[in-house]
């Protein structure tokens, strides 16, 4: 089985010409009026949604766009609590995880684009969250946390908090974000 995988990968490599010059490329497109910088990209598992952080009104703000059209997708809770950073998306883009600023604290949150819920992850007062990553299914969340000057990655099990967002054909309930503006 492994030899088949190796052979397939070799063929793919040879067909690509062994050079990245042949790889398809495109810009993520316009980020809206007045937004000259776009940072922190995150693709949904299926690649149909792109999250990024752009400057709007002088504040780093999460932008969610359908791909490849670039159409902006609505967010219920995340139009405030800037600056936003480190977005991460589930498979179909149903769940949007991001760091927000609330007062003096940075907080990891997950917005469910289907039912509008916002899940929050408060940390103890002596810990600060730096980055996050959401598993495509939405079943796990990794947080990079700074405690006593040391960065550490911690993984949280969300199986009891979120229903899974699975690829089309594997949906177990309301996984598709059709009701959320797609």
């Amino acid at each position: 089985m492994r030899s088949v995988a190796v052979t397939s990968a070799l063929i793919a490599l040879l067909c690509s010409g062994c050079g990245s010059w042949s790889w398809g490329r495109r810009s993520a497109g316009p980020a809206g009026l007045g937004a000259s910088n776009r940072q922190d990209p995150a693709l949904s598992g299926d690649g149909r949604v792109l999250a990024s952080v752009v400057e709007r009104g002088g504040r780093d703000t999460l932008l969610l766009q359908e791909q490849p059209s670039g159409r902006e997708l609505p967010l219920r809770h995340l139009r405030r609590f800037q600056p936003h950073r480190s977005p991460s998306l589930s498979w179909n883009g149903r769940y949007v995880a991001v760091l927000i600023q609330q007062g003096s604290r940075r907080l990891a949150v997950i917005e469910d684009r289907v039912n509008g819920n916002l899940l929050r992850f408060p940390l103890p007062g002596d810990q600060e969250v730096e980055r996050l990553s959401l598993a495509p299914s939405g079943r796990r969340l990794a947080l990079e946390v700074v405690h006593n000057g040391i960065n550490r990655v911690q993984v949280f099990d969300l199986a009891n908090q979120l229903e899974p967002d699975l690829p089309a054909g594997m949906l177990s309930g309301g996984g598709a974000p059709a009701a959320a503006g797609r």
């Binding site: 062994c18 790889w23 922190d40 819920n117 899940l119 408060p122 299914s137 969340l141 993984v155 949280f156």
Partner: protein, 172 residues
């Protein structure tokens, strides 16, 4: 007026913050449910790595940058087995990894790293144990990355001409 359960107030006090400041967002959200459960066994494994940062999750796989004593490397953890897997040919002592992304199969990793004073983007295929550079065109300096679950498309944050842009790159 609704009162917070005493247990919740005690928990908030243990957080080292004023209870109201912590509880208000929770109560206002009205949908926070129970607190997330850290994966205890995995946490101990990750602690053994030393400091760690730049996590990238893809359900079964967790990629991160970790190490001790200033020597950092890319680590790929199989979350089902809660064990790191070997990545022969990826890490080298004179390279400093800055960001990593992994596909759902744990087969393709994309890494931003500094090597000989240059910041470069590379694709690592586990089945081949081989690295392939990804050129930035037009020229630019990559920073953060995100990989589609099937590993066939990559989003890259690029510093170019004094501005930050996002490129989307098809991966063959």
């Amino acid at each position: 007026m609704a009162m917070a359960p005493p247990g919740l107030v005690r928990w908030a006090r243990n957080l080292g913050a004023r209870p109201l400041a912590v509880l208000a967002p929770l109560l206002l959200s009205g949908c926070s449910g129970t607190l997330p459960v850290p994966m205890g066994g995995l946490d101990r494994r990750l602690e053994a790595i030393g400091s760690s940062h730049a996590p990238a999750l893809s359900d079964r796989w967790l990629a991160l940058i970790g190490g001790r004593g200033g020597r950092e490397q890319v680590v790929l953890v199989d979350l089902d087995r809660q064990m790191p897997v070997p990545l022969p040919g990826l890490n080298r002592p004179d390279a400093q990894p800055l960001a990593v992304a992994v596909d759902a199969a744990g087969e393709r990793l994309v890494v931003v790293r500094q090597l000989e004073g240059r910041t470069e983007l590379v694709l690592y295929r586990r089945a081949l144990m081989a690295l392939e550079p990804i050129a930035m065109q037009p020229a630019g300096v990559p920073r953060r990355i995100s990989l589609r679950a099937d590993g066939r498309e990559l989003a890259v944050e690029v510093s170019r001409g004094g501005a930050w842009q996002v490129d989307l790159i098809e991966v063959p």
